[in-house]
């Protein structure tokens, strides 16, 4: 539909809706249920230079209006990703945002270097996974480290770079400012909130990793608040995520200041959530005579 187009860090997307990394694979498993051509972009599951095995099971647990996960960034590595997943996604009329993970700054840099020649539209650097011991979240909780890794990645990246931020910090705006200073083209937030679930009958942690990342509608108001705070703090565009399950949720994100919005855990509840969100946003625009969706970005009063 006309009027749904957004420009994020110089890239034009047909609509503001993408998928949250890790909830959609590389789209292959969802293609049976969703027309991927409808999506503004597919954001792929975190990929590293070499394959990662991830954590032991149990890796997921349901919580009220949400879930915990501690997958540990299992991924097949860049070789397979570039040979199998990217050619698959290129068959569709949608943009590709590649989520990149690493344990060390060098690993992020070499992954981004390898992706320089890949036909993808944007990179999202995961400096915020709560489920890997080394790397991930440690890069996302210390502003100086986040700035340094952003600079290092930007030096070799050919595509625009989004830094994905964790909410597990005292002040997320400090992290957003740090990656902006490091040259980030955008920020995405929020990653999951660290949580824990205990099986009272067995007196044991439900997740093998003890802790996991909380996602789903339960965290949506937290995400909206943080998107709003970050929007006041930085000039770079925001990809908002956290519990988005309906068009209303996505519109809230945009009004709080997000230019694009990702649907995550809701894909597990209904694999066609992304398309339902897009349809609902179009419907909202018609009902409210909004001719250009970008009018809504940060419009909350």
């Amino acid at each position: 539909m006309a009027g749904m187009e957004v420009n994020f860090a110089g890239v034009t997307f047909k609509n503001p809706i993408t998928t949250a990394s890790g909830t959609f694979g590389s789209g292959m498993e969802f293609a049976e249920y969703v027309d991927l051509n409808r999506l503004g972009a597919v954001t792929t599951k975190g990929v590293a230079v070499v394959p990662w095995s991830g954590n032991r099971t149990i890796r997921v647990a349901e919580t009220p209006s949400g879930m915990l996960n501690a997958i540990g960034l299992q991924n097949p590595g860049l070789d397979t990703f570039l040979e199998r997943d990217i050619p698959f996604l290129k068959k569709f009329d949608t943009k590709i945002i590649v989520n990149v993970c690493g344990h060390l700054e060098e690993e992020y840099v070499s992954a981004v270097e390898r992706l320089a020649d890949a036909d993808v539209d944007m990179l999202e650097i995961n400096i915020s996974c709560p489920n890997v011991k080394a790397g991930g979240i440690t890069f996302g909780t210390v502003p100086e480290v986040a700035e340094a890794v952003t600079k290092a990645v930007k030096k070799v990246a050919r595509q625009p770079v989004i830094m994905k931020l964790t909410p597990n910090v005292t002040d997320i705006t400090e992290m957003a400012r740090a990656v902006e200073a490091g040259g980030a083209d955008g920020v995405s937030l929020i990653n999951t909130l660290t949580g824990m679930k205990i099986d009272v009958n067995r007196r044991k942690f439900v997740l093998a990793n003890k802790t996991g990342g909380l996602s789903g509608p339960a965290i949506h108001p937290v995400a909206v608040r943080m998107v709003y705070q970050v929007a006041q703090a930085v000039k770079i565009p925001i990809l908002g995520m956290g519990g988005v399950a309906t068009a209303e949720d996505a519109l809230e994100m945009m009004m709080a200041g997000a230019t694009m919005v990702a649907v995550g855990t809701a894909n597990f509840h209904d694999p066609s959530t992304t398309v339902k969100v897009i349809d609902g946003m179009e419907d909202y625009m018609k009902r409210n005579n909004v001719s250009d969706i970008t009018e809504l970005i940060g419009c909350v009063q």
Binding site: T23, G54, G66
Partner: protein, 255 residues
């Protein structure tokens, strides 16, 4: 190939303590379903986000029969449903036993506890002679009459109130059950015992695993199991129970 649709419950009831059955109307799923596959059933309460993967007990002409244990919020909700109620279902999912249906000339089907139900459709579809061996906690059994319609049936109970007093392996030994392939579904200690017994007897064993899932379609990587060889999809020694499984060659998984 799977379908997602809002389906009508056409039959519901209790079979034993904590064990319930539900028949849903879905000609499309009935056409696609194979023994050993599962269907994701969704709660009508959106606060319960994740699907409950329920194994297929029987493929009927216009629908699917499930027999399941009510253990948590989702399955407890299902257990209270009546004929005429509706819910969202997505399936059939997983590989099922289809690819290994002709793996032997005489088969032993082993079900333990809530691993018993998928053995029924498998028994119906197997063309080779076979014996079904089911383990229950006590004499509060379920599906026994259904099994007896299609094959020889042997029982084991934890408390000895029916059949062999002991495990399914004890029953196989005590009642002289023989075959050259085992198909099994049940709790992990039982599957480990089946794997060991098959190895000792030089038999093939195909076991159906259970693991917590978030998506049921292979995207979340929540439900993996350790594999002996590198998995083709993951490139690490992890296979997805929901796609590469739930049925695995026992020798290929590290349980």
């Amino acid at each position: 190939m799977a379908v997602r649709e809002c389906v009508k419950v056409v039959k519901a009831g209790q079979l034993a303590e904590g064990i319930f059955e539900m028949v849903i109307e879905s000609p499309k799923m009935a056409e696609l379903a194979k023994p050993g596959q599962f269907v994701s059933l969704y709660s009508n309460d959106a606060a319960h986000l994740l699907p409950r993967p329920i194994s297929i007990c029987e493929v009927l002409e216009d629908g699917i029969r499930f027999v399941y244990r009510a253990v948590g919020a989702g399955t407890t909700e299902f257990s209270k449903m009546k004929a005429g109620d509706t819910l969202v279902a997505q399936g059939p999912l997983g590989n099922g036993y289809e690819a290994v249906l002709n793996a032997g000339s005489k088969a032993i089907l082993v079900g333990g506890g809530i691993g018993v139900p998928p053995m029924l459709e498998l028994s119906k579809q197997l063309t080779v002679p076979h014996t079904v061996v089911c383990g229950y906690r006590n004499s509060d059994t379920f599906l026994v009459d259904d099994f007896k319609k299609y094959s020889d049936f042997v029982i084991a109970t934890d408390d000895g109130s029916l059949g062999t007093h002991g495990t399914v392996i004890d029953a196989i030994k005590e009642q002289g059950v023989t075959g050259d392939v085992i198909y099994a579904c049940g709790p992990m200690p039982m599957l480990k015992a089946v794997k060991a017994y098959a190895a000792e007897q030089g038999m093939k064993a195909y076991i159906s695993l259970e693991e917590r899932m978030a998506c049921g379609i292979g995207a979340c990587l929540g439900c993996v199991t350790k594999t002996v060889h590198k998995d083709e999809h993951s490139k690490v020694n992890n296979a997805r129970v929901c796609v590469e499984g739930p049925v695995f060659d026992a020798e290929e998984v590290e349980i």
